[in-house]
């Protein structure tokens, strides 16, 4: 996995890195990585503090550099034994993304997924500055082929409010995912001409219509559909750095005063809380509120229907999904109780395993829109500002999945 490009990104990172930490342990499998490592780097905690201290604007200006820093950080983390990943039982619940059954696509390696770290996405970093939007892409590259074809094919979701949906049933999708896909098309073609992008529905983890299957079949060039970056999925596809981080929260009917309730998952013992079957959210419900409280649904949105029908007392899943539910029913709201960051879901843009150049290009586009402030514009435009308004962070370890 490690390439010379990782070493290059580290160089950028070391300019912004402030504190020192020595890579304590060396994993045999990461020997190549550790050889390219410098001793100057920083811990995740320090990086987090920097992010918190910076103001909103500074934040974006520096985001590129920080991304690089985090990239190096993650490389370091790769050398140490990952406690976060180890705490999750291999072959346990699949990391849920809120919608559809989370799962490992067929055809990939069998057995429990190996732990993976931040470098799994930062490894694919575009070198230098991206080609100017609309200018000729490097000859022979995936982007050049897309340019020649005349349009980008983006795999999206069509049933997740605020991310990918078709409100007028006219096959004109909109949402945050759709906007991110449009940014990629704009970076290739130089304009926002709707003819330069086509959309294709992708079903999560489906063996024939899932993201991996459609990418490998070259039905789609990129997939932007609230897909959580997981180690299992990383074995079969390239992911961008996180473009959105969702936190799992509880949605309940509004209180008698018309405001959001204060209850948390721990208060739901003896009640029914809905989540997508096979999702980590469902396991969290069982862990915190008891196995009897976990109520599985085929689709996350079914949970809202069950809540309206009085079959369940609450819905526990990604806040990004819950925001969409709030939009569809004014009588429900995300509760104000604080939830843990342990199960945060980093969403990534998926590209085919074979097209490393595309993965690097997408990472470059993402870095640009994060840096230019376009990312937060899109977050606000899609009504996601009440969720995680901070720029997405690259975690030390990705969920096993």
């Amino acid at each position: 996995m490690m390439t010379s490009k990782t070493a290059a990104s580290k160089t950028v990172a070391s300019k912004t890195a402030g504190s020192k930490t020595a890579a304590s342990k060396t994993a045999a499998s990461k020997t190549v990585a550790s050889k390219t490592m410098t001793s100057k780097t920083m811990t995740a905690e320090t990086s987090h503090k920097i992010l918190k201290k910076t103001t909103f604007k500074q934040h974006y200006i520096r985001s590129l550099g920080i991304l690089g820093a985090v990239a190096l950080l993650a490389t370091t983390a790769a050398c140490s034994s990952s406690k976060g990943a180890a705490s999750k039982a291999p072959g346990g619940p699949l990391a849920g993304e809120g919608i559809g059954p989370g799962g490992v696509p067929t055809g990939g390696p069998t057995g429990a997924p190996q732990p993976c770290h931040g470098d799994a996405t930062t490894a694919n970093t575009w070198q230098g500055s991206l080609p100017a939007a609309g200018s000729a892409m490097p000859s022979g590259s995936t982007m050049a082929k897309i340019q020649q074809r005349g349009f980008l094919v983006a795999g999206i979701d069509m049933s997740t409010w605020l991310f990918g949906y078709d409100p007028n049933h006219t096959n004109v999708p909109q949402g945050f995912d759709v906007d991110i896909a449009k940014e990629i098309a704009k970076a290739i073609f130089g304009d926002a001409n709707p003819n330069h992008i086509k959309f294709q529905v992708v079903t999560l983890a489906d063996p024939t219509t899932g993201e991996i299957a459609q990418l490998n079949a070259t039905n789609v060039d990129v997939v932007v559909r609230t897909t959580t970056i997981t180690c299992a999925r990383l074995a079969n596809a390239n992911f961008s750095n996180p473009y959105f981080t969702a936190r799992q929260k509880l949605l309940m009917p509004i209180g008698a005063d018309g405001k959001a309730q204060k209850l948390g998952l721990a208060d739901m013992t003896g009640k029914q809380v809905c989540a997508t079957k096979n999702s980590t959210a469902l396991m969290t419900i069982a862990k915190v509120a008891g196995a009897a409280a976990a109520y599985p649904a085929a689709n996350a949105l079914d949970c809202l229907a069950y809540l309206q029908q009085g079959k369940v007392d609450g819905v526990f899943t990604d806040d990004s999904i819950l925001l969409g539910m709030e939009a569809q029913d004014p009588k429900v709201k995300i509760t104000t109780a604080q939830t843990s960051a342990t199960d945060d879901q980093p969403y990534g843009i998926v590209t085919a395993k074979a097209n490393t150049d595309m993965a690097q290009f997408v990472n470059g586009v993402l870095a640009n829109i994060l840096g230019s402030g376009q990312w937060s514009k899109l977050v606000f435009a899609n009504g996601l500002q009440t969720s995680q308004s901070d720029t997405p962070k690259i975690p030390a370890d990705y969920p096993l999945g």
């Binding site: 049933s159 409100p167 489906d206 219509t209």
Partner: protein, 467 residues
């Protein structure tokens, strides 16, 4: 004196008969009839003849009762098939069809964008009205029968929830919310069954059970109406043997060739048996025609209709789900490619006349065309050509005969025509079967009375010869 002689010469006579014999002998003037009896004594012959007369007359009446009862049994069966089980099966079939058609229409409605197509909306509403009517009719006709009570309850309980969820789906969808799609799928699962909860009986599952139950009852009625008249035939043979035996004996004793009364009774017996067997043969044939040309085909066609409608629902829901309902496509393969195909070939094999055979073959070819159109539709949907897939499903443009909708509608037309033909066949033959035994009950009674009368009269002449 004579009585003593008679007693001594006929010691085998039962004692109970003696006083009567003595008394009647006492009343009779001696030697009025000079004809020489062949039996040892005149008194013995008289007693015997009287007894034979009573036994034969009663036997004739009993035969008549058995005959009338047999006819009544078969007539009841035919009547049950024509007026109760038949209509009940038909209503259950109508319920099954209306429910699945409602679900297919609702899913199709949902796929339409822009103004609501009123004909489709009216069809959905009419389906629900038809289903409610059929449900009420079946409930009334079944009259608390245990075999159908649970299924009727399932349908009656869930149908309001179904239509409520469907209405909710449509109104949420007006806001563009994907939640509408989930309500559509939840409602449809209530109708078709939820793959995640196979233990919950869906509405259509209960409706299918009803059709099966009523079909079984119809077969029972048909069997009853064509039961072999074994008791009647045994009775007829016994009576015939007795009549012939008595006539042969009389022939020997009197050297008269025939006793007109007994001959008339025998003729009446033969006539009544002939009537009965002819009526039964006609009826049996009509019942079997009603079964083969009617009920059997109706059953197969009803299954095919529902399978095609379920597949249509799957086709629509896969499109509506936009990737979240791909399991419905798996369902489509089960319903259309496996179930429906097999049913249509069964219908073709069961076809008894040219028209039903032609219709079955046309249905098979239209089904194949639909499958082809459906595969193209799926390929379009999967290859970034959703609009083309939707157009095919909804039949745009209307003059394009290759769309999935055009071929599905053609298939529905074939099945409707075949169903109508089979139902007419059932009705006609059931009516004929019922008509075939009309009058046979009275006929059996009249002929039995005539037989008894002829026996009494015929043997009465012989008895009076002794007196």
């Amino acid at each position: 004196m004579t009585a003593t002689t008679a007693r001594s010469t006929a010691p085998n006579q039962p004692h109970g008969q003696q006083p009567h014999n003595q008394q009647s002998l006492g009343q009779q003037p001696h030697g009025q009839r000079p004809q020489p009896p062949t039996s040892p004594t005149r008194h013995g012959s008289l007693t015997r003849l009287r007894r034979v007369r009573v036994v034969l007359a009663i036997s004739a009446l009993v035969f008549g009762v058995i005959g009338a009862w047999t006819v009544q049994m078969r007539s009841d069966g035919a009547h049950d098939a024509l007026k109760h089980s038949g209509p009940l099966t038909q209503q259950a079939t109508k319920l099954y069809h209306a429910l699945s058609d409602a679900d297919a229409s609702a899913a199709t409605l949902y796929l339409h964008t822009g103004p609501v197509p009123t004909d489709l909306l009216n069809r959905y509403k009419q389906d629900l009205v038809d289903a409610s009517d059929a449900l009420a009719a079946v409930t009334a006709e079944a009259n608390g029968a245990k075999d159908s009570a649970a299924d009727l309850k399932t349908i009656a309980d869930k149908l309001p929830t179904y239509s409520e969820d469907m209405g909710y789906a449509r109104s949420i969808s007006n806001y563009g919310f994907p939640l509408g799609t989930r309500y559509l799928i939840l409602a449809s699962n209530l109708m078709q069954g939820d793959p995640a909860h196979p233990e919950i009986q869906p509405i259509l599952g209960a409706a299918k059970n009803l059709v099966d139950t009523e079909s079984r009852n119809l077969v029972g009625a048909e069997d009853k109406s064509s039961a072999f008249p074994a008791v009647e035939i045994v009775a007829a043979v016994a009576l015939l043997a007795a009549l012939l035996f008595v006539q042969a004996a009389e022939n020997r004793r009197t050297r008269r060739l025939l006793n007109p009364g007994l001959v008339a009774a025998t003729a009446a017996l033969v006539l009544s048996m002939g009537w009965l067997l002819a009526a039964f043969a006609v009826q049996g044939n009509e019942v079997s025609m009603a079964k083969k040309q009617g009920a059997d085909q109706v059953r197969i066609l009803a299954t095919a209709q529902v399978q095609s409608l379920q597949a249509r629902t799957d086709e629509m829901l896969t499109l509506v789900g936009r990737g979240t309902a791909n399991d419905k496509e798996v369902d489509y393969v089960t319903n259309a490619e496996l179930g429906l195909g097999a049913s249509l070939h069964r219908a073709d094999a069961a076809a008894t006349d040219v028209q039903s055979d032609t219709l079955a073959r046309k249905a098979i070819s239209d089904e194949a065309a639909w499958l082809t159109a459906h595969r193209k539709l799926r390929a379009d949907d999967q290859q970034n050509n959703y609009d083309a897939a939707v157009n095919s499903a909804l039949g745009e443009p209307p003059n394009d005969a290759t769309t999935a909708n055009a071929n599905f509608q053609a298939l529905q037309k074939d099945l409707d025509a075949a169903m109508g033909h089979a139902q007419v066949g059932f009705q006609t033959h059931s009516q004929s079967a019922s008509d075939a035994v009309v009058g046979a009950v009275i006929g059996m009674g009249v002929l039995a009375l005539a037989m008894a009368g002829a026996i009494v009269a015929g043997l009465g002449r012989r008895i009076s010869e002794y007196q």
